[in-house]
Symmetry: C2
Subunit: 344 residues, 2 copies
């Protein structure tokens, strides 16, 4: 099967009469017609086998995740998804793999109203690059995009989570699954299944990002770890923050991590440190961390409820640069939680 047949069979679908997509797959370029009074939000992510996903992942979940991590960037900007391009390098044409990958990809794309408009396929080490396009309104000359630079002294700091039939989803889940797959710890089967789904098929918080427009002062998606990504917000905004660590115990998010058996010499200190590490620096969960003025606490909770998520208030923006951690007793905790770096 050649390149053109492959695109025709797995990636080209009947054109939909989208108001924005003038021309989709099949020409040298795709054409988008942005709506009047809007800006276009653009983000691009590359996923490499062995680095961003395990070779054992089901291709349908991989198709979902490749788009989800990009949609999460749109969510963090409060942008409505419109369209995306896909560039795909594969070692060989595997039709079963392509069928499942495209099924997972399009299931999420359709759920989010995001159309595949072009891209590239080639032979090479398995690598997926998606570039996503979203729309942000401009109201009275002001862009409604949520930026990293908008946090103000006195703002509350939040992180998103969700209460689902499988349990509470929140920061730390994906890293817990990764460490289990690496053999560093063991989890009860039911917990493993839940966090594995979070690692392999995360839910981008698009609806929450849209609901937070005009309420949140800044936002970032937690791809590299909560404290690390919050650090980007603090730096861009020229502020500092004090973050409490009691919220995740109170919200049971860390319950699953606490059920983990650390392989090798187990100790209570190790398990406790593990929970902190997962939740504060795990990354790859694609929750949103954001800030909003205390006067809008009700509006934040309404936005979360409306989008089927939880908004956990975890701290406050202050003037002192840097990030301070407080434990459940209000005592200072050393912050030695690194951020995930794709070159570390």
């Amino acid at each position: 099967m050649g390149e053109f047949d492959l695109i025709e069979r797995y990636f080209k679908r009947p054109a939909r009469s989208g108001a924005h997509v003038v021309l989709g797959i099949g020409d040298d370029c795709a054409l988008l017609a942005p709506a009047l009074g809007t800006q276009m939000a653009i983000s691009s992510d590359m996923l490499v086998e062995g680095r961003h996903f395990l070779p054992t992942v089901h291709p349908a979940r991989l198709g979902h995740k490749a788009l989800a991590v990009n949609l999460s960037d749109l969510a963090a900007c409060g942008a409505r998804p419109l369209a995306f391009t896909l560039a795909l390098a594969m070692p060989a044409v595997d039709q079963a793999w392509l069928g499942a990958f495209s099924r997972g990809l399009f299931a999420l794309a359709d759920a989010q109203g995001c159309e595949l408009i072009g891209g590239d396929t080639t032979r090479g080490p398995l690598t997926i690059c998606i570039t996503v396009f979203g729309e942000v309104p401009v109201v009275d000359g002001h862009s409604q995009a949520l930026l990293r630079s908008g946090a103000r002294i006195g703002d509350d700091v939040y992180v998103s989570a969700a209460d689902t039939p499988l349990g509470i989803e929140g920061p730390g889940d994906a890293r817990l699954a990764l460490e289990a797959f690496r053999g560093h710890l063991s989890l009860p089967q039911q917990v493993l299944e839940r966090v594995r789904l979070r690692m392999e098929a995360p839910t981008p918080r698009v609806a929450l990002g849209l609901a937070l427009r005009g309420i949140a002062t800044s936002a970032v998606d937690v791809s590299d770890g909560l404290l690390g990504d919050l650090g980007h917000v603090l730096q861009s905004s020229g502020v500092g923050a004090t973050i409490r660590t009691d919220w995740f115990a109170a919200n049971l998010i860390a319950g699953d991590a606490q059920s983990a058996q650390v392989n090798g010499a187990f100790s209570f200190e190790k398990a406790e440190k593990l929970v902190l590490q997962m939740v504060l620096a795990g990354g790859d969960d694609y929750e949103l961390a954001f800030t909003a003025p205390p006067a809008l606490r009700d509006e934040v909770q309404a936005a979360a409820a409306q989008s089927g998520t939880l908004a956990l208030r975890i701290g406050q923006i202050d003037a002192d640069p840097g990030l301070r951690l407080l434990d459940a007793a209000g005592l200072s905790l050393p912050n030695h939680f690194g951020s995930f770096d794709h070159f570390a």
Copy 2:
């Protein structure tokens, strides 16, 4: 050096007050503000080491080429380049490589007024994915984009070329260089240098694409081979074409190919076949193939002159489906020239 330092050092540059780029590198998304009455043309290409470029290529030329192949897609649509994203996987952080790669990339980007607005870097097999954004005006409700589907019966068929101090550039050059690097043929040193530059640092015909708006009825860039890419135009337009093969001899484009010594058993037939193969099916030259009504021949030549290129008239669109080849004597030639397929 970590991911963030790397981006800061090699890819982040002082923001320019572009009318279109509202927000560049550094947030979850970039923000573009398209001009009123325009559409956005989007294209994405992935380059894999060993497949699209040789490991020996100079990184500055690779930086140029990675952007050039994308700009060529904008050129084929008649779109004005605005911005691009870059996703880059590298086996290790090599600062000398990054310095040269970004230098080559930005030299072309600056020459074309195209700003890097975001992307991704990660560890992995050397892979470059660029997504490029261009602008096409809409006049009286009609998009000025050049599409593959616009060729009409009776139109002339053209391919671009250029008369440069190093010799005539045209279709076939890049393949000639590739076959020389593969050891399949030998070239005089001066010829090798010229065609190597064409393979490693092709010139996207952006100015020609812009000048052809309102004149050409269809266009495509010759990335996979002249006849193969013309075939896409014929199929999209529901027409056929008759192409003469005397034009490239008359225009001396094939002079360099004729100087090639076919390695192994040399024969006159082999050399002649080689020239045809290079020019008609070589690919990777990023010339434009396009169609225009005979009534606009002067306008086509003016557009070419204005953009520093040549527009070679090579045939005519007709009603019979498929593509017919005529030799210099006007006799039918069998068309067994395959197109380049990244999965073949």
